[in-house]
Symmetry: C2
Subunit: 339 residues, 2 copies
């Protein structure tokens, strides 16, 4: 179907991956190129005084899980630690089976923090591409540990909050990993939607190439684009070109390649949108599932700049209003130069 870049009438689009209807509503915004963040990504602790994530303040942190490089004599570049205020409790009795059908489940689970750099004020996108890749490899390692140790963990959500209005309470560059005893709703919905597409067409919805006017950039192993029915203005997906269910199957070479592309995308939104708060999420498949069980599943990394506030319409309907057509966002992001 032809993307209607020229049309400036509102349009509803349904995404083949998320299964979500999104209202594209150009009347709701100024020109896409004028859309900038009103609250650049400043966070709570701008100063490094007493920042628990700074090198030298390790004693202020919850226990370490591992560090990179592992040698404890050397200076670390990345630390994976326990979250001091965990949403789930690793010490709780594991839930006794049943799982998703019951109505209450003990809050067993893991909640970790990945400190992405030792120095305050060095953001993920400031790191050399290979070191961004090393952060991705740290995610992989932690997921592998969780998958190997606990059958009860059904899904691992890796995410990053950058900037106060994206939820970040600390500005020192970090991301989080939450391991859940249930498959969360967005994941079930996404897999259901991809399965439908697969049954109908025989194809994986993410192996099909996106329309060329939605593409931002390609690397050896990945492609980045604005999804056809992007939920949020300037949302970006980075997808492995080769069909793959699980993020944690990524190898070191692909992680370095993804690191380079992720850094570039973060730089592009920073320049185009005035250093916006953003989130990124790794959208992967449930643990303990095989490629033959989920032939339609394909992982990706989703980047969401936070440019607007969710209101009652979105809360009520689960339907989002996006003022920027994806093909317009992609063009701007393709063309913006980063220093």
């Amino acid at each position: 179907m032809a993307a209607q870049a020229q049309s400036r009438q509102p349009e509803l689009r349904k995404d083949a991956v998320t299964g979500r209807w999104v209202v594209f509503s150009p009347a709701r915004s100024k020109r896409p190129s004028d859309l900038k963040s009103k609250s650049p990504s400043g966070s709570a602790n701008e100063s490094s005084d007493n920042c628990p994530f700074c090198a030298g303040n390790e004693h202020l942190c919850a226990p370490q899980i591992f560090r990179v490089p592992p040698d404890s004599a050397a200076e670390w570049r990345i630390r994976v630690i326990e979250n001091l205020y965990p949403a789930l409790d690793r010490n709780l009795g594991r839930p006794d089976g049943g799982g998703e059908s019951g109505e209450v489940l003990g809050g067993f689970g893991y909640h970790d923090v990945v400190i992405e750099a030792p120095a305050h004020g060095v953001h993920l996108s400031d790191l050399p591409p290979r070191e961004v890749g090393d952060v991705l490899i740290a995610y992989r390692k932690r997921i592998e540990q969780l998958a190997a140790a606990f059958d009860e963990i059904k899904y691992v959500q890796v995410f990053k909050n950058h900037g106060a209005s994206a939820g970040a309470s600390l500005s020192h560059s970090h991301s989080q990993i939450i391991a859940l005893p249930v498959v969360p709703p967005n994941v079930s919905t996404r897999l259901g939607s991809m399965k439908d597409h697969f049954s109908r067409t025989g194809k994986c919805s993410l192996c099909e190439l996106p329309l060329s006017d939605l593409v931002i950039e390609e690397s050896t192993h990945f492609i980045s684009f604005v999804p056809f029915a992007a939920t949020f203005a300037f949302e970006i997906w980075i997808v492995p070109k080769i069909h793959s269910q699980h993020f944690h199957d990524i190898d070191d070479e692909k992680a370095a390649d993804l690191g380079r592309l992720l850094k570039l995308m973060l730089k592009k939104i920073s320049v185009q949108l005035n250093d916006p708060p953003f989130n990124f999420m790794i959208q992967t498949s449930p643990l303990h599932t095989t490629a033959s069980e989920l032939p339609y599943a394909h992982w990706f990394l989703q980047i969401v700049p936070q440019l607007s506030v969710v209101g009652g319409f979105e809360l009520g309907t689960g339907c989002y209003i996006n003022p920027v057509f994806p093909e317009d966002a992609a063009k701007l992001l393709r063309e913006v130069n980063v220093p």
Copy 2:
């Protein structure tokens, strides 16, 4: 099942109505009674200068649909007008059938604004109970008009944004009505979940009385409570005691009764939570459906104070972290006195 008010361990709960898993995580917050809004509900246009919604500035507004009282000689108390920047377009060709199965749909639909009072700075909860009821009757009337005129409108979402971090761009008290050509995802999910419960138990999930420790207040026709698996801290539902699918079947007497209870709930969250930004949404059933088609459906009004920011975990999983157990929130709201 017994609500575990004493337990201070994290817990996952699944709501029988929304079908959503929520992580209750006491470690993530201070004591529930200390939870206050950090950004009381101030909005963009604090002053009434040039406020398009003020009496006398009607010429700054998009066209009126109707006013209350209808007599145009008298002073109005409520105005229902077109939205100047509509998300959907009432003048677009109506979508040619197909609907939800296709991937693109013309953005046909309606987007109206309800101005709840003529004077700037008079909020909904400042109105006498009966006038709050009149606002509800204005919603009903507009939904009836839309339902009678257009078979293509599948669902009408009534919602209110109060305060900038709840999405409000204007502070003059108002709410919005969006009429959609599709049944939105949260509604399908909710109806699916209520249908499951009905098939399993033979009962409507909202006709069953909530646990007494979740109840905040009862009126003649309605009951207000914190739902067992509240997605948001201090979320409140107001539910008609008599089984009813559609909000717009409410009669004047029930609307006045609901107006009183809604006002009380808004006052309670204002006192308890320091005038927080909030949204409310009417969660009703699709248009053009009958009671026999949806025997399990029961409408309600949902109030959500905005006390925290959505982060990458919620965006990624669709699963929310609520730091306040519903029974604790209900106790505080039950006990707080309003002036």
